[in-house]
Point group: C2
Chain length 345, copies 2
DNA sequence: ATCGTTAACGCAAACGATTGCATAAAAAAG
DNA sequence: CTTTTTTATGCAATCGTTTGCGTTAACGAT
């Protein structure tokens, strides 16, 4: 005998009325006498009645639940996005079902499946690094299923997505390094199949070109996992193995940037004097490490908020997906700290 | 016309059989001819049939969904716990519904309510800092509702909980400082209403006493929010305003410890020579800040795993809650780094 | 006295799947 | 060729709610 399991029928029985009357009374429908409404509500209270959302979902084929699929929870950026999602969803009366794919395509697909089984009203997705083919998404889109992609967005024509301006963020970061007098700027790039990596690299390249600097291919090293070990190795390589030593590094993510910092320290290179470093994501630790790390801040919370409110608008038909033709782009902010400032201004 | 909306009835119609036959065929029940089974499965495949989990939930009054209520998502420890929860739940075929309370009691209660409405099979809870009265939990427990508390555990006799050994963790951290020759060890404490704070403070106190040191009340400063600003202020106060200056700080959490480090740097105190510092939680940044911060590592992922597997066992009646009389306690690990080592060993 | 109107409520189907109990047809036993 | 058993399938209720439509009784109008 579990709690809250009193049903409309129980109330009906207690008062010798029909379930329809109870249902209507609870919702203040017209055509029910005030007296009955009063009694019904009283008994509902007494029995600790709680509407069965499952029954409601079945009836309305709406679950008031949205599904979130992300690569991993333990990641500063994603956790802030989740936070934004949860805030908006719960304030608008929706539940959030969460799964992480751990960057596995198989899990992404199975998550999609079980969520569909659960009559999810819509999806919020940032796909895995393994995902290169978007058929499983476009099928759903074709059927008019509400989906909003965020951060990592697929190359599907009619997909709705919310992203940050990776290009501009990278451009600003690189320009900042250039303005600080660094001229041989290397780039620790992200995995090639993610658009965000490509965009950041593009921002890096164009900033160099627009400032009259040359792009050296050997200065661009891919760090697909984004760990500090990777950043460490890449930086050691840059310092030791290359003829033209770089004097600054723009990293695709903060962890790699930290790896770069550690490598510099190990090699006795002073930051920012001999090596300027800028990261990407503005993880919490950026401001507290030594020297503090300049980084491009991604508005994770805002992304979550925006993506969710768009999704809910689509679900509630307040927003026609066809009116959205381009991805929503949120601005980044370059946070300049000690690791990249060597000019007294 | 949404995808996956083909129902058992659609399959039945297509083959001119009854829904019961289809249902049984899909589940390989005996008493259905192999021929029929084959056909049913074929059509199911063709129509992209996906069982409606909602209908199933209603029928079985089981939702195969567990509810997670935590103070906040953007927190290294909690995000690792979530990760552990999600792994176990999804591997055992359960969904995870997530809400954060932002440390508000009101939101905690309303989350509880909507989850109950959604026929959640069980709860995983770490309650808010505002929560001092546990009636809303004990009501559910009395009704036999499966709940596992983690990290922050309530003082209810029959509550099942998974926690870490905060006392021992704090004891070890403090002992380590003592062994390093620090004698005037201060403590940045957590909010008084959380058991974990009390336990950590107790570990700190007893370590001092057992090593023949005195406990100075003025050395214990409460940092209820656990921010680095708070830690900064508390440490400045300790350094400047107190007659007997401490030579080490054991902080209730890493952020406060970082605040303490910054305050020491601002005051020109060398770490670890003039001030030893140990934190709690082992946030990611501990190993990459300068000097690296010694910290007590909490096995967040394991907590999530353990709590979830216990909850699912209870839900599936594989585990009788009455056989569990004491909280499950997981061991911490003291990670010794530079911030607290001044003896060459 | 009869008719129309309105207020207040009940009936029953529907959402999708499961399942105990019938039932029909086919096969085996007599 | 019956009778019994087996095999394969269908019926209908159920989970908790909602809702279109019908029903009843009371009331005022004619």
């Amino acid at each position: 005998m579990k709690i809250g399991q009193a049903t409309i029928k129980d109330i009906a029985k207690e008062l010798n009325v029909s379930s329809s009357t109870v249902s209507r009374a609870l919702k203040d429908y017209p055509g029910i006498s005030d007296e009955t409404k009063r009694k019904v509500k009283e008994v509902a209270d007494k029995l600790n009645y709680r509407p069965n959302a499952i029954a409601l979902s079945l009836r309305k084929s709406r679950s008031f639940t949205i599904g979130v699929i992300i690569p991993e929870v333990v990641h500063f950026f994603f956790s802030t996005v989740i936070s934004g999602i949860e805030e908006v969803a719960s304030s608008r009366g929706y539940n959030v079902i969460l799964t992480q794919t751990n960057e596995s395509l198989a899990r992404e697909k199975s998550s999609l499946d079980t969520m569909l089984s659960n009559q999810i009203d819509g999806f919020l997705i940032s796909f895995s690094k393994e995902t290169t083919d978007f058929d499983h998404f476009s099928k759903l889109l074709d059927y008019g299923y509400p989906i909003v992609f965020f951060d990592r967005i697929p190359d599907i024509p009619n997909a709705i997505s919310v992203m940050i301006d990776d290009y501009q963020g990278a451009y600003n970061a690189t320009s900042h390094l250039i303005e600080q007098g660094y001229t041989r700027i290397a780039h620790l790039a992200g995995p090639k199949n993610l658009n965000i990596s490509k965009e950041r690299e593009r921002g890096y390249r164009e900033a160099l070109i627009n400032h009259g600097l040359k792009v050296y291919p050997e200065f661009i090293i891919e760090c697909p996992f984004g760990t500090n070990e990777e950043g460490f190795k890449a930086t050691e390589y840059l310092i030791k193995k290359i003829n033209l030593k770089p004097d600054a590094i723009f990293a695709n993510n903060d962890m790699a940037a930290v790896g770069a910092m550690l490598a510099c320290k190990a090699e006795g290179l002073k930051i920012p004097e001999e090596m300027g470093i800028v990261g990407f994501s503005n993880w919490q630790f950026c401001s507290i490490i030594e020297p503090s790390l300049s980084s491009v801040s991604q508005p994770g919370f805002k992304i979550g908020e925006k993506a969710t409110s768009m999704l809910l608008d689509m679900i509630e038909k307040k927003l026609d997906p066809d009116t959205i033709t381009a991805p929503i782009v949120l601005e980044t902010e370059l946070l300049i700290r000690k690791s990249s400032v060597r000019l007294s201004s």
